[in-house]
């Protein structure tokens, strides 16, 4: 085998990713901040901050609480709105030579349709449709917790765009695989999972929840085994590719999640512990492939269950 061959190259919904490592939506803004650490072109892609039809101010602080091996957040989809994203952020991202995944969220089916339509003729490479934000009262999670709701939004977005559509699923459901199947049936090109697990912490001195929103989404290493399990169940249930995320913080975690069935990997909370995590994972994956003398795509879904 040619030593210079890129063993990490991944084809996902017909899009070429130079490697499968993507900062997760909501942890990386629109990329600008992290360009102060490393060139964005080193990343497989970027899933941008969840963007809604109109600007959202987000929830009152505190919006974050640490937990054993993880954290809760309740940002509440603070973002400048889709028009501002297209006008101010997208031209910048376009110059960065990485795959641009537009993460979108809405309160109504019409809002999803409007945003997807606006993005159809832009330079974004694919849409990640958030039907699982746990931090907004009238938010996407209402759609993401039933097969009907997930199917409805998938269908509407599918009709509104020619871009590949990846539905981002909530783990706060009884059977995530059935929701994934509902998305697949309505034309989703891929699914990504997991969004955060709904959690809560209380300050025992003030008897107040630490988060002003009372509850928030749990992420970080604490959720990793749950995420691996859900990726595995989902990958076994659908014929569309799976983008896995949830607590991945090392190349070993990434390999494990890929063996469970993920073709792409998003990295979120680990960026807060170490902003260099994506680069370290990419390096680790390259070494791993060299040692195994294989291309990374060959390990996807290779877990051998008992």
């Amino acid at each position: 085998m040619n030593e210079n061959k890129n063993r990490l190259e991944t084809d996902f919904c017909g899009i070429k990713f130079k490697n499968p490592i993507i900062p997760a939506s909501g942890t990386f803004g629109y990329g600008r901040e992290y360009e102060e650490f490393y060139p964005l072109s080193t990343l497989g892609g970027i899933s941008v901050k969840g963007t809604t039809g109109k600007r959202r101010n987000g929830n009152l602080p505190p919006r974050i609480a640490e937990t054993p091996s993880g954290m809760l957040n309740s940002v509440g989809l603070q973002n400048p709105g889709i028009d501002s994203f297209i006008e101010k952020e997208l031209p910048y991202l376009k110059t960065k030579n990485t795959v641009i995944i537009a993460n979108i969220a809405g309160s109504t089916a019409e809002e999803y349709e409007e945003i997807a339509g606006k993005l159809d003729n832009t330079d974004v490479d694919m849409l990640e449709v958030n039907i699982s934000c746990p931090n907004v009262k009238a938010g996407g999670a209402a759609f993401g917790v039933s097969c009907e709701g997930a199917g409805t939004i998938t269908k509407i977005v599918r009709r509104a765009t020619k871009k590949p559509v990846m539905m981002k699923l909530s783990p706060n459901v009884t059977d995530i695989a059935s929701i994934a199947k509902a998305c697949e049936a309505e034309g989703a090109d891929a699914v990504s999972l997991i969004n955060t697990l709904l959690g809560m912490r209380i300050d025992i001195n003030t008897r107040r929840p630490i988060l002003h929103n009372n509850v928030g989404g749990l992420s970080g290493p604490a959720v990793f085994p749950v995420a691996v399990r859900m990726v595995w169940q989902t990958a076994n249930a659908v014929n569309i590719p799976v983008c896995g995320m949830g607590g991945v913080s090392s190349w070993e975690d990434a390999v494990e999640m890929m063996m469970a069935g993920a073709s792409l990997i998003q990295v979120g909370a680990a960026l807060f512990t170490d902003p260099m995590t994506p680069l370290k994972i990419i390096d680790g994956l390259e070494d791993y492939c060299r040692r195994q003398n294989t291309d990374l795509k060959n390990i996807v879904g290779t877990v051998m269950p008992w």
């Binding site: 942890t27 101010n57 987000g58 602080p61 919006r63 512990t273």
Partner: protein
């Protein structure tokens, strides 16, 4: 590349008050670009989130930063175990906006409790053109007084219980000093009620004032949007972010309704 991340050697450690630790860290590439009012974000083994700590002093010649922090919970308690000979994992320098440094201007610089450390670098800049007012709960909590005196500034000390310096609040001393002296700027860091009081006094006197804020943070660079702080700019209320839009804000933006 504006941000540095790495393991930096700790070269000095002191314990100036109960639960308060004072470290000097050798990090020439950070010291070379750090600005007054910025902070560092420290990783502690076993914790998901870094701990943001304000920069107390920047020594560009020695290539060092000084940080002074208080044990607030398990993370800072683990940080207090770090010692010379060991290393500290920092992302720095962070903060999109530090204190305004106005050459030749007169400043009143106010610190409350563990809000005192970030004021030292500022006091060094203004030197004899500054009045420094430090407030603490009691004598046992008092820190940095020799350092503030060393800047050439006129210094005042007060404690809530009168066990060191004057009995009372920093705002009492501020009001008294403003009777005979009108500075160009008032800068403060400390508990929110103290900052609110200072902002109100500054507004009444028509003096510009800046406050350094703290909020629970995630990324520390502006990517995650968790460290929200309600501010008003040009008549419009928005959630700014302490890490990127601050940590220093014009007090009028933070206390707009008061």
């Amino acid at each position: 590349m504006k941000y540095c991340q790495g393991l930096y050697p700790i070269i000095r450690k002191e314990n100036p008050a109960a639960g308060v630790y004072d470290l000097s860290i050798l990090c020439p590439e950070i010291a070379a670009i750090a600005k007054c009012g910025q902070f560092v974000n420290i990783r502690i083994d076993g914790f998901t989130l870094r701990r943001p700590i304000s920069i107390c002093e920047i020594d560009r010649q020695k290539g060092t930063l000084r940080i002074v922090f208080q044990i607030r919970g398990k993370g800072t308690k683990a940080m207090a175990e770090l010692s010379p000979g060991g290393f500290i994992d920092m992302v720095a320098p962070l903060g999109g906006r530090g204190f305004t440094l106005q050459e030749g201007a007169q400043a009143i610089i106010i610190g409350g409790g563990i809000g005192n450390p970030p004021m030292l670098e500022l006091a060094k800049f203004y030197g004899e053109n500054a009045i420094v007012i430090s407030g603490f709960r009691n004598a046992a909590a008092v820190i940095l007084q020799e350092d503030f005196k060393g800047t050439g500034a006129k210094t005042f000390l007060c404690t809530d219980d009168g066990t060191a310096g004057e009995k009372g609040f920093v705002t009492d001393i501020l009001k008294r000093e403003l009777q005979t002296h009108t500075p160009d700027i008032i800068c403060a860091c400390g508990p929110m009620p103290m900052l609110r009081g200072i902002a109100a006094i500054a507004k009444e006197k028509g003096i510009r004032s800046e406050v350094s804020l703290e909020e629970r943070m995630g990324c520390g660079v502006g990517g995650c949007l968790v460290c929200a702080c309600r501010t008003v700019k040009d008549g419009e209320g928005i959630f700014a972010h302490v890490c990127k839009d601050g940590p220093v804000f014009d007090s009028k933006e933070v206390f707009s309704n008061e």
